[in-house]
């Protein structure tokens, strides 16, 4: 009886004390510290964003951002002096924020546009890719630029910056009378609708349009038209308020750009023989140069 009572009291004491222990003021562990402690880094990559992260014909998970991820892991191994396990996790536009916010993923290396509202919940690295909203239309279509969409039907991915760009162009009177915007969950569905004539043009980032056209059964039947209606700078996503980690990744990217390795990776995916041939634009090159802070 006494033993039982003693045990019960002890248990209660432990239960009461546990939360108190947790309350001890402690600086949260930074991502760098965590990587060093666990010897693991979890990077989120896209699965269907050609050529940033996708599955090739052989079923391998490859892409521009995955190559950069591999470089990052190499650099970490060198700087921290420990062996680091590289864990790749798939992310999509719905999951990438919660997974970074709750620190399941240390960095998302995909193809996310850096916007001000998105800064509310996470942080972004420097821009590693620059593109913008353009249109893909059937060859010979009368639509040459966004103004020509007046009264027509245009498609875009739900919640994409491109869909917002179309919406804004409608309100701003750039497209007058406004076009009807049809939303699609995924780019392939939007392209299917374009093939079926459900929409007159599909709007997304120029880089993705180039990939879409390249993947079509007859690339010659389609053309990418229009000026860059918006600028979409892509950045990698890191947890909010961890400036050690953000600075580390930024410095890594800058050194990659300065050493020229970045351009080699760019050529591998966007060069003339790459998955998505897309010459580097003047603005993009200037941006890369200008944001490469001095050592």
């Amino acid at each position: 009886m006494k033993v039982k009572l003693l045990l019960a009291t002890g248990l209660c004491a432990i239960l009461v004390a546990l939360p108190l222990l947790g309350c001890a003021p402690k600086k949260p562990e930074t991502v760098l510290e965590k990587i060093k402690r666990t010897g693991e880094i979890t990077i989120g990559h896209r699965e269907g964003s050609v050529p940033f992260g996708f599955f090739d014909e052989a079923g391998n998970w490859v892409g521009f951002s995955i190559d950069i991820g591999e470089k990052l892991v190499e650099q970490l191994k060198k700087d921290l002096g420990v062996d680091i396990k590289y864990i790749k996790k798939p992310v999509d536009p719905k999951t990438r924020i919660p997974l970074v916010a709750n620190r399941t993923i240390d960095i998302v290396m995909g193809s996310s546009t850096h916007t001000i509202p998105r800064e509310d919940t996470v942080d972004f690295t420097i821009t590693f890719f620059l593109t913008g909203s353009q249109l893909i239309v059937p060859k010979g279509s009368p639509i040459r630029d966004f103004e020509d969409l007046a009264g027509k039907k245009a498609g875009a991915a739900t919640g994409s910056t491109n869909e917002k760009a179309l919406r804004d162009a409608n309100t701003a009177g750039i497209i007058n009378p406004p076009c009807e915007i049809l939303q699609f969950a995924e780019h392939p569905q939007g392209f299917l609708a374009l093939q079926q004539g459900k929409i007159d043009a599909y709007c997304t980032d120029g880089s993705l349009l180039a990939g879409m056209r390249q993947a079509a059964p007859n690339p010659e039947d389609w053309e990418v038209v229009g000026r860059l209606l918006t600028y979409d700078p892509y950045g990698y996503i890191v947890p909010e308020n961890d400036s050690d980690w953000l600075d580390y990744v930024n410095a890594f990217l800058i050194h990659l750009i300065k050493s020229g390795e970045f351009y080699q990776i760019y050529d591998k995916w966007f060069g003339p023989d790459g998955k998505v041939p897309l010459p580097i634009t003047e603005e993009y090159r200037t941006l890369l140069t200008l944001q490469s802070w001095p050592d």
């Binding site: 009807e180 939303q183 459900k198």
Partner: protein
């Protein structure tokens, strides 16, 4: 969740509040129209399945087995991308050029047709549960087969199946969320859209949840009221 700061104002601040309201209305009229189609089709098909005519039974069974056995998500894709291909090329072009808001009407038809197959099954079960004496009694009073169904079997059957139909009505409401996969901006779609603009998905999804709970509770209360209203004294079921 460390690092995530809640900002509930995305649910009402402009322009998102207005969008959300619009989306809630879309959910409501999309589901109600779908449900109306489901009730009409379901009643016809369900009756066909128990009708003495063999042809009617075969058609009714084929409808139920085909439509009920294809997932609704797949059917949405089918109705949106594949069914239009059955039309002649000119008709396709005409529809694409002249019908506004095609995704919405596709979703209404698909939701109605799909839910009808399930409603039909409930009705069939209901009518099967009516003792065969009722059929014979109806026939003995000189009613034709059609009249027997119209005045005796269906009225009894409907009352028996009200509870499962309530469930079906709720499912219809909740299934309307899948319409976002073909770009209909109903409540769930809008919650995800605002999420991608603001990256406050936990708040918008919670908002959508409340909308569904509120509307479905209303349906439950309404159907309970219908049940007591049309109940026949002496029959089993909810009595006032």
């Amino acid at each position: 969740m460390g690092g995530y700061e809640f900002d509930w104002s995305v649910l009402w601040r402009e322009p998102y509040g207005g969008w959300m309201l619009q989306a809630i209305f879309t959910t409501i009229h999309l589901s109600l129209l779908g449900w109306a189609i489901a009730c009409v089709f379901g009643l016809i098909v369900g009756t066909m399945r128990v009708f003495p005519s063999r042809v009617a039974r075969v058609i009714g069974t084929a409808y139920v087995e085909i439509i009920r056995n294809i997932p609704y998500l797949v059917q949405l894709f089918m109705w949106y991308f594949m069914v239009p291909l059955l039309l002649p090329k000119n008709a396709q072009m005409w529809v694409n050029a002249n019908v506004p808001n095609i995704p919405y009407w596709t979703a209404v038809i698909c939701l109605g047709v799909y839910t009808a197959s399930r409603v039909a099954e409930h009705l069939r079960a209901g009518m099967h549960s009516i003792p065969s004496d009722q059929y014979r009694a109806a026939a003995s009073t000189g009613l034709s087969t059609f009249q027997a169904y119209r005045y005796v079997i269906i009225p009894y059957g409907i009352r028996i199946v009200i509870p499962p139909l309530t469930t079906e009505f709720l499912t219809c409401f909740k299934n309307s969320a899948l319409a976002m996969t073909i770009g209909v901006m109903e409540t769930t779609g809008m919650a995800y859209l605002i999420d991608s603009y603001t990256w406050h998905g936990l708040e918008t999804t919670s908002g959508a949840m409340l909308v569904y709970i509120f509307t479905t509770t209303t349906i439950v209360l309404f159907m309970g009221w219908v049940e007591t209203k049309i109940s026949i004294p002496g029959m089993l079921g909810r009595v006032r």
